[in-house]
Amino acid sequence: MVAEHENKTGVEGQFDLRLYVKQQPVMLALLALVGVIFFLGVAGLSRGYHAQREALGDRWFSRGVADLNAQRYDGAVADFRSALLYSRDNYDYQLNLAEALIGRGRTAEAYSYLVNLWERQPENGLVNLELARIAAQRGQRDQAQRYYHNAIYAVWPGDQEAQRRETRFELIEYLLRINAQAPAQAELMALQENLGEDPAQQKRAGALFLRAQDYEHALAAYRISLRTNRHDEAALAGAGWAAFQLGRYAVAEHYLQTAMALNPNDTDSEERLKTTQLVLRMDPFRRQIPVNERDKIVVEAFATAGTRLSSCATPKAAAASASSQPSLADSWAKLKPQISEQQLRRNPDLVEQAMELVFEIERQTSATCGAPTGEDLALLLISKLHEGN
């Protein structure tokens, strides 16, 4: 610098070297002062600028939320996009935009936003839930389950437990939709542990257990629900149906009768009750049944099976029966002369023989001629009840 400046002074010969060197600290100090003033000015400007943008962002966001709540998804998307102009990285804006996009059916776009949000907050419950829904929609079962589980253990605003419970309910619904019974049952068991005595939640769990074909737990859930509200017709019907499926027809009759008394228009329960009562009435092996009544039931059952057999005499059924040695029709015809109340009273071994044939007829005809109804159904259920005995 000294050498250069000497050179410069030599060329220009206008300013003194020492003075020049001495001036530099002063100039730097002045520069610093100007810098501070400039900085303060920009800081003031910045405050105003950001405040304005924040206000605009909030205004558009509020509009977006209103549109989203009213399910005006197109408007909501535009509003949230406008809000994002003023705060590109705002988490809530992006999340709501993603929800509006999902509402609009633009899941690919929403997914991209959600993935970004997930990277920023992997523990966010709502983001995980939305991602799970998209994955479920796309048929990506593993991803969907992973996101659902993330959401179940994630952080939620407000009532965290309720949100987690709802998410698990949703996961179970999803699993049942895709016929994944085993994982659905596992999720239901985990869910039930956290439900407590809440009758509504237990009733909901009971219904899901029914769909998952876990009737024992379904009945248990309905019973817990009924402890608080004995007159909950849906819980009664559900409990009745669960007991019916478990083969506990006496219990089922109790629940279904109560349900029918509360809601006579419940046709499903009415049908199930009829079948239950038929099962109870037509079972010749039930305990403490008088002999004459038992014999009468066997005769009726034998006749019913015969009718079913003849009504099922389609070519297909005939072919099926032709292959069995001897055929059911032959067996039935051969036994028919012996099946009367007197004969049965004289030879009680015939009861077993007759009922075995009846059960076999009902089983085979249900396989070849479709699901039975009425007394035939009752006989089929009785056959299942005594299977292995």
Binding site: M1, V2, E4, H5, K8, R18, Y20, V21, K22, Q24, P25, M27, L28, L31, A32, G35, F38, F39, V42, A43, L45, S46, Y49, Q52, R53, L56, W60, A78, R81, S82, L84, L85, R88, D89, R106, A108, E109, Y111, S112, Y113, V115, N116, E119
Partner: protein, 597 residues
């Protein structure tokens, strides 16, 4: 690097004596007790320049922050607050603002036209670092209005010029020497660009690659300091978030790089098309009658307004929001391809109409749309490809940057910096290189060089400089065809060795190292004086002759061959091992041959 090499090369030779003689002077300056000497040491110009670079960075950062605010307000008041714009504003805002801008540029700020990169280069190479402050004011106002009203231009190049202008003003106020004044514009340019991009590495690289054209330790320190300080200031006011965010890229199979290579090819072709459009239309627009220049920005604005009104408002302004949306898979690949095409048209007209504003952002926009479109199309054909639209868009940005702006190094680092995502580096390098090579093949002259030539200026082409062949000492040296004597030999022995040679000058190998020379006549005189039995080394002058290495640039040899008729060229591994010799005639002969070829 060359300079260092030169200094190292001569350090073992004669120049070592010069360096050691200056050392005590420096020591006195630093450790001396005199306050005046201390002050002198502190405020040596190179140190002062470094301090000034920090101030340049701070001032440029603040100016760029204000510039961003101005663009934001301009957009807000001209186009409205929502993302969905009203048709009236879409058509009127860019058109009417275009008229105002034209009047301002023609009557008040004539130097505010264009992007600003070439003006900064001109300040460095032609105007000794001088850029009028009025240019910065003009650029600030007109570019903010243009970009805010929807003209298809970006804020980066104007920021670069504003930074350079601030640096120039500060340099003048500080009365820097001419050498420093020349370098001060790039220092400010780096600060402005770094703040605009929130990317200090890219800004430094761009300025080195595209404006200064060479790496020197002196300027690099200042450029880095200014860039870093401006980014720090900018982040203080505008946040430190990356410009774009995409998920991490996982290349599941190396073969997926082929998909990015295809993007490189498409990007290279698009760059060439964009470049041809600008360089063809610009002189034609400039050649139109003067009165049309009042209307050109307005017509460009109207065209952009119509494009926006017809369904592509994304082409308006810098387009960063649209790029973000493209990265989030908002558009179909067909629409993305259309947006890329429309943006080329919109930017062409905005730029050639003389509207102040930069080409960086439109280049990135075109690249992003093209990248996402190519990625989308490839996904249709090959659904197993793992790259997201964001990945392809980001790689596409780098591709256009490399192909159109022809800054290959910057293009790679820019993508990494603006995304903060280093997992993308392999696709970026592959695609950018391909795009650069294709664009270079189709358009041998880079866009900035072309624009400079259209303006009648002859600025050095950094691309040509980078690729210019460099002659080395080994290209001019000749084999050792004269006897070489050792300093330990007696004078008589030496005379006996050289006697048979027709040459007059001979090299003497000194012990333990170093070289000297002696003439046949000098040896004869010494023998005649009765010193034939003494060692040759004791009779030679103390001052050694310099030596060179074969890999040094030939221009290094020029510093010595005029003073020493024969300069030894020695091995770097063993300086006593002679590889050849070089003379002034050898050097000039080689340069003549090079010039003729």
């Amino acid at each position: 690097m060359v300079a260092n090499g030169v200094e190292n090369g001569v350090a073992n030779g004669a120049m070592a004596g010069v360096a050691s003689s200056s050392q005590p002077v420096a020591g006195r300056m630093i450790y001396g007790r005199s306050p005046k000497a201390l002050l002198n040491a502190v405020f040596r110009e190179e140190r002062f320049f470094l301090i000034l670079s920090v101030f340049i960075g701070i001032f440029s950062g603040l100016a760029v922050v204000c510039f961003r605010f101005a663009i934001g307000w301009s957009r807000l008041y001209l186009l409205g607050t929502g993302a969905v714009l009203s048709p009236t504003r879409l058509l009127l805002a860019p058109t009417l603002t275009g008229l105002v801008i034209a009047a301002l540029v023609i009557h008040v700020f004539p130097l505010a036209r264009g992007s600003g990169v070439n003006q900064t280069k001109a300040a460095l190479y032609i105007y000794n670092g001088f850029i009028p402050f009025r240019t910065a004011i003009g650029k600030f106002i007109t570019a903010a209005m243009a970009i805010g009203s929807g003209q298809s231009l970006g804020p980066e190049d104007p920021s670069l010029q504003i930074g350079a202008c601030i640096a120039s003003v500060l340099g003048r106020q500080m009365r820097l020497s001419r050498d420093r004044m020349r370098l001060i514009a790039p220092v400010g340019a780096a600060a402005g660009l770094a703040a605009a991009f929130n990317a200090p590495i890219s800004a430094v690289l761009f300025v080195i690659e595209e404006v200064i054209g060479r790496w020197t330790a002196g300027i690099l320190g200042s450029v880095v300091l200014s860039a870093v300080s401006s980014v720090v200031v900018m982040r203080l006011f505008l946040g430190s978030e990356s410009l774009f965010r995409i998920p991490a890229v996982q290349l599941e199979r190396p073969s997926e790089l082929i998909a990015y290579a295809i993007l490189g090819i498409v990007g290279g072709l698009a760059s060439a098309v964009f470049s041809v459009g600008i360089t063809t239309l610009r002189p034609k627009f400039k050649a139109l009658p003067l009165w049309t220049q009042y209307l050109q920005p307005a017509l460009a604005g109207l065209l952009i307004g119509i494009i926006a009104w017809l369904g592509a408002p994304q082409v308006m302004g810098a387009g960063y929001e649209a790029m973000d949306e493209a990265m989030h898979g908002r558009f179909t690949w067909q629409f993305l391809a259309m947006l890329a095409g429309l943006k080329i048209v919109a930017t062409l007209f905005s730029f050639v109409s003389g509207t102040p504003g930069g080409m960086f952002a439109p280049t990135l926009f075109i690249g992003a749309m093209l990248g996402a479109a190519v990625g989308g199309a490839e996904h249709v054909v090959l659904p197993h490809l793992s790259g997201s639209p964001g990945t392809y868009a980001l790689v596409g940005m780098g591709v256009l940057f490399a192909g159109f702006l022809r800054a290959p190094m910057t293009s790679v680092f820019m993508v990494l910096e603006v995304s903060g995502n280093y997992s993308i580096i392999l696709p970026v390098i592959v695609a950018n290189t391909i795009a650069y090579v294709i664009s270079r093949g189709l358009r041998p002259i880079a866009i900035f060089d072309m624009l400079t030539r259209q303006d009648g200026l002859e600025l050095p082409s950094m691309e040509e400089l980078r690729e210019e062949g460099v002659l080395h000492v080994e290209d001019a040296m000749r084999a050792v065809d004269i006897p070489v004597v050792d300093a330990q030999q007696t004078v008589a022995e030496a005379l006996q060795i050289v006697q048979a040679s027709s040459a007059e000058e001979f090299l003497v190998r000194l012990s333990p190292s170093g070289w000297n020379s002696v003439t046949k006549q000098q040896l004869r005189t010494l023998v005649d004086e009765g010193k034939g039995g003494t060692s040759l080394g004791s009779q030679l002058p103390i001052r050694q002759i310099p030596f060179l290495h074969p890999d040094l640039p030939l221009e290094t040899a020029l510093r010595y061959v005029d003073r020493w008729p024969l300069v030894p060229v020695v091995s770097r591994a063993n300086v006593r091992q002679l590889e050849g010799v070089i003379s002034e005639r050898d050097v000039l002969e080689r340069y003549r041959e090079f010039g003729e070829s």
